[in-house]
Amino acid sequence: MQATSSIRETLITGGKTVRDVSEDISRQVEGKPSRLWWMAFSISLILLLFGVYCLVTVLWEGIGVWGLNKTVGWAWDITNFVWWVGIGHAGTLISAILLLFRQKWRMSINRAAEAMTIFAVICAATFPLVHMGRLWLGLYWVLPLPNTWGSLWANFNSPLLWDVFAITTYFTVSLVFWYIGLIPDFAVIRDRAVRMGNKTRASVYNALSFGWDGAAKTWMRYESVALILAGLSTPLVLSVHTIVSFDFATSIVPGWHTTIFPPYFVAGAIFSGFAMVLTLLIVTRKVFKLEDYITIYHIELMNIIIIITGSIVGIAYITEFFVAWYGQVPAEYYAFYNRATGPYWWAYWSMMTCNVISPQLFWFKKLRTNIVATFILSIIVNIGMWFERFVIIVTSIHRDYLPSSWSMFYPTMYDVGEYVLTFGFFFTAFFLFAKFFPVINMAEVKSIIKSSSEKKH
């Protein structure tokens, strides 16, 4: 009577049963956090507090405390904004696009990646919000609300306003998608708590699970919701970084005025997003002993995505240079010449080394299946991606048409402090998530145990 599926690649090792999945994943929620967790959590919290101090100063004094000047009006803030938004692309990409392509390997990593997405988007949103200076008036500048200051409505022709809509929509839909996925898993923890006699935990997780009962009819609707959310999120993911790139591409600033920005930004976002997923998951699988669920095979597949997107980004850099030369517009030509050989040559060449050369190392199977190499390279990629945004933003505007206004940008403590703030927030939130929420989608992993788990012999 038992039907077995055809041979598939092993996604879950260690001969796990359905029961083991509930046990292994719920354990970290139920137990006391380890000393390692407390240490990591405290460090993030300290970073967060230092960041909050810097943020309060910026809000109190105004953004004059940043290192911006008349020529360079966008620097670390917008660099960090684009960097974080980019990182926030992997989660929904994994859960939406890989769901539509029926890639089962997404199931072990989608939960943590989506959490990362949500926290990264919050970090990203901090920068444009603070950049508005008077945050409390911002609501009227970015939302179409009736007001009595100047122009009556927000300007829908502006890519900056499109960005507001894109990012809030992306955040909301990702949050809903993530939460929908969490609901059945909260019910697992609730029922385990009932059996263990822990009433408080049972009622908290019951509320979180919205009274989930796992009825076949609910599962049918649930699957339908998940599929449509994936279908909606797929163009949404691609739209977000496209619109972020419009912030630059619709301007006439040499170096920004480029039609290849949308696909180039999206590829870069996926590139850096996967790098951050790798950084976090390599640590998470170690700390929570999830090596059987997030296997070397998962890491290898993510590394392959890094080679692909890294190469797309590399080709985009070269294309920009080619077009700057071939187009023969003196201002464009100079912007790119200045990028590679001007006073910010070191930023440009850091970007080229980290983003174009380093991911090519993953062509070697030995390296892409090596955890230490992957961990180091994933961090290098994100350093490179930060420099990419810095190069695009600062080098394009620090020398404009009038040589007398040429200048350099020097960050102050408050520029750095706000970047530290987002790191503090990101890791604090991620550690809290890893402690209180199941880090792997149990229901999905259980559904593939029979077809994709390594059998005990």
């Binding site: 509930s22 409505w153 919205f210 009962d213 796992g214 009825a215 009819k217 229901a443």
Partner: protein, 175 residues
């Protein structure tokens, strides 16, 4: 216990494939299944139980269309009629710059509307205590509930049919 107590027979299945075959065979034998509770989505179970396809995609489409219309009317009315502003000498109303916001609001309303509808039709809300036949149904067992009142067959017959068709244990549960 009140008089309205309902009596159920609860069959426990260990494997999703056994469950799928079991559901078909048990329904053929004339047993009315109240509902099946599974720890993960079992493909084909909805068809085996004879459920009709969910109409949530239609809800998603309607909410999405609402978003599209709302976004377009809002932008055209605000910038075209209520307070036209000259921005770079461009037309007051032109479609291309309105597309991003229209797209985002379409997706937003569609997603939120569909998920909201899902919660309402499935009666899901915080502080709802679900009726659970067996706590193992969120762990590793598939749980089939049969309402004795709505079945003509006797309790023993149903219990026998469940066991013959793959249930590893059959329990009674009253609410």
């Amino acid at each position: 216990m009140s008089n309205t107590s309902e009596k159920f027979l609860v069959g426990i299945f260990d494997d999703e494939d056994i469950l799928l075959h079991g559901v078909e065979a048990i329904r053929e034998k004339g047993v009315k299944i109240h509902e099946v509770y599974t720890p993960f989505p079992v493909h084909g179970l909805d068809e085996a139980l004879g459920y009709k396809r969910s109409r949530l995609p239609i809800a998603a489409f309607l909410f999405g269309m609402t978003g599209t219309i709302l976004a377009l009317t809002m932008q055209i009315w605000m910038l075209g009629y209520d307070w036209p502003m000259i921005i770079g000498g461009k037309n007051f109303v032109s479609l291309p710059p309105f597309i991003p916001v229209t797209f985002e609001l379409t997706v937003l309303l569609s997603a939120l509307g569909m998920v909201g509808t899902f919660f309402i039709v499935s009666d899901m809300k915080p502080y709802k205590t679900p009726r659970q036949f067996d706590l193992r149904s969120t762990d590793d067992k598939h749980v089939m509930a049969v309402d004795l009142a709505s079945n003509k067959l006797s309790k023993d017959d149903i219990s026998r049919i469940l066991k013959e068709n793959g249930a590893s244990e059959v329990n009674e549960k009253n609410f």
